[in-house]
Each structure stands twice: as structure tokens, then as C-alpha cells.
Symmetry: C2
């Protein structure tokens, strides 16, 4: 088994809007990025796109189960309805010490209803569903749900948004450090993984606000009143 | 039946921390305030407290069912576990055209568990439960859940927080206008009442953040990216 590169960040579903946005930002910050997809050729195409936008970027593309062992932190950036099958597909190649980041939101679009509503998840949240699917020793952290894909992809602008990061302390802090790679993002200690339930639902609320306020680029959120906050 | 004063704002549970905070702020902005409580003498004491803090304030205190008919907008500011009984207690005196504001959050403290978790409400949210209890012609609007009681009570400071206001358009806009009375508050169009489910849960998340970031005064939230926002 390959030892995962501690600096690399794997993004499964890195061909989608939000995953590609994160890939661009992390690549721009100089981190090695591994894009995963169900199809290797789509992952390769996305990797080339990142290289074009960020000359000199260290970015590669692989099928999901090949991408997963190459990075210590693996971000699952597929639509909610593909999250469980994606995690089941990489379970065999996950190694203790790896961190899986759940960023999907159980929007009701998964069952053909609207994006301003969510489905109730038996385990409490998408992140907790993922936690129930990974082998022992693999940590699950919830993050990035509320960050606009559009704003991530516009590399020239800051992404004005707080990221509520939830999960066990050490893993949470490692994922929080990723936020510092993206100008404008700020990691907020979102406490235990069970809080993902609330954070995921905020996305549905923000999608409704995007529509009502006619901001297709996507709104964000900030927690106010934190001492020493920049 | 008395015609409710369109300028007056009734606050049932105006003796509690958050209700008193709103009473102080609305009184300071020059609006007539009617404080309601289960006990008339406690309402009177709270009214005197407001008068002391805001000299010249137009504020009175009554038992809840006497307070209710005196204002067009009636804010229910009692703990979640007393919300249904409070609404049932005023149902007989509510008149069509009045607006009831639901600001309680179904925190698990209602059943002896912690304030960082919520109870599942059959109707979806506290606000929708209230909606099911009021006579026809009375509108229910969800607002103010995420505003810190402490910061409301400190009249010298701005309250840096967005208020997600949900409900039918006309009533929602009337309640949104109340936010402009409090420096720092900004009303956000929170869409249909069913969104109260998410807004109420955000309070539990903020309470957890207050603890983790050691900010007993209470944190707030802002939606970022709204055009023309001040």
C-alpha cells in the first residue's frame, strides 16, 4: 500500500463545480492535488483544467479508488445521492490515519424535489452517514458545505465565507488548516460531527437566499463577535 | 374588542432575557411597548425596568391575554416548552390582522438535555407549531431566534447580527421593519415559514460556538454577498 502523501489533498468528485473550485484554490496555494472521479479520463481532463488555470500546479487525476490512497486528506465532493456509493467504493483502500471530509448536503434534489429543502437522514447528517461507512481509524470531518462553487472558481476574488468544521479535534484542526489556503475562508470550530446536521441544512437556506436575492454567484455566511477575528 | 395599536409591539415573556432585550431596544427607538407575562405584577416590574433604562419610554405591563389585544404585532418570547400553552392562552383574544412572531427554539433543554441540541418538532419547527394553533387571519412570522439577549440588553452597543425573517410576504415585511429599529440588526428575507426549521437550529449551533469560543455575550451571524448591503 502506498503511504498517503501528508501534503496532498484528494478531491473525489473533483470534476464537479465545488470540487473543481477547491482543487483550483488548493493548487493555487501550492498544495499537491489529486482529483478523483468515477472515470479516470474525466479526472485527467479536470486535472488539465486546473493546470491551465494555475500554471505549474502539482495536480493529477485518477479513478476514485486510485486517487484515495495518494493523499492523507480525502474530500468527498460528489452529490449527496452518490456519497454512500462513493465511500463504499473506496472503503477497501482507506488506511487508518486518513481523514475523509464530508461536504455533501442531503438536498431534496436527490429525490427530484427542490434544492431549498433537505431530506432527513437516519444517522443525523450526511457526515454521520459517511462516518458509519468508513473503517476504524479513519476520521470523518464535516466542512465546506456552505462555500459557493462559483466563488471558489473565481481565483482572483476572495471567498467571503466562514467554514464550520465539525469532527474529532485533531482531524478537525487539520481540515481547518486547509481553509487558510483559500483567501477569505475562515475555519470555525463547529464542534462534534453531529453538528453537521445543522451546517448541512444551512446550505439549503443559503440556496433559497441566492434565489430571493438574485445572487447566482452564491451568498456566504460569517459568524460575528469572535474575539481576535480578522 | 380593542383595536390593536398598529405602532405598539407586544412582547409576551417580555420579562425574560431576550424579550426584555427587545423591549428595551424597541422602547429606545420610540415605539410603544406592551410587556406581557403570566403574572401581571412581573410584567409591571419589567415595564418599570424599561422605563428606568429608557427615560420617557412608552411601556406598559399586563398579563398575557390583556397585553395581546393592545398591539398589532405580538412577539412570543417565552421558552419553547411554554410556547404552545402561551399561544393557547391568548387564542381567544387574537384578532384577524394581528401578527404573531415566533422566536422560540426547540432546544433540548426543554426535556432536560443540553442547549446545543434541538428536539424534532412534528410540524417542522416551533414557528409552524404556532401557526397550527392560531385562528384564521392571524399571521405567524419566524424571527429573532439568533439574536443574543445579552447584546440586546446592552443599549450602548450595536447588535451585529442578521435576522432571518420567514413567513407570508406582508407580515414578513412588517416584522422585518422592526429590525431597523435596532442598530446593527439587518432583516434577511428568510422565505416561507417552513425555513424556520433551519433558522431555529442555527441557534443551537451558535450556543455551542459561544461555549467553544468563550463568548458568553453571544455570537451572531451575517449573510455575506448581498448586493447593496450596508
Amino acid at each position: 500500500m502506498t503511504t498517503p502523501n501528508p501534503d496532498a489533498i484528494a478531491i473525489l468528485g473533483g470534476t464537479g463545480d465545488q470540487g473543481l473550485g477547491l482543487a483550483l484554490r488548493f493548487a493555487k496555494a501550492g498544495r499537491p492535488v489529486v482529483i478523483g472521479s468515477r472515470k479516470a479520463d474525466r479526472a485527467l481532463t479536470a486535472a488539465e483544467e486546473v493546470q491551465k488555470a494555475v500554471p505549474g500546479a502539482d495536480v493529477v487525476g485518477f479513478e476514485n479508488s486510485e486517487a484515495t490512497p495518494k493523499a492523507r486528506i480525502v474530500i468527498i465532493s460528489v452529490p449527496f445521492e452518490h456519497t454512500a456509493s462513493t465511500v463504499k467504493g473506496i472503503r477497501e483502500v482507506l488506511a487508518p490515519g486518513q481523514i475523509l471530509v464530508s461536504m455533501a448536503v442531503p438536498l431534496a434534489t436527490a429525490i427530484g424535489d427542490g434544492a431549498v429543502r433537505t431530506l432527513g437522514i437516519w444517522q443525523g447528517s450526511c457526515a454521520e452517514m459517511v462516518k458509519g461507512l468508513v473503517p476504524k481509524g479513519v476520521e470523518v470531518v464535516s466542512a465546506f458545505q456552505n462555500v459557493s462553487a462559483h466563488r471558489l472558481q473565481h481565483l482572483e476574488d476572495e471567498v467571503e465565507c466562514d467554514v464550520l468544521v465539525s469532527g474529532a479535534k485533531d482531524a478537525r484542526e487539520e481540515v481547518s488548516a486547509l481553509c487558510e489556503l483559500v483567501p477569505g475562508l475562515r475555519a470555525i470550530n463547529g464542534g462534534p460531527l453531529s453538528n453537521a446536521k445543522i451546517v448541512e441544512e444551512i446550505t439549503a437556506l443559503l440556496i433559497g437566499l441566492n434565489i430571493r436575492y438574485k445572487v447566482p454567484e452564491g451568498l456566504g455566511l460569517r459568524i460575528t463577535g469572535i474575539p481576535d477575528a480578522g
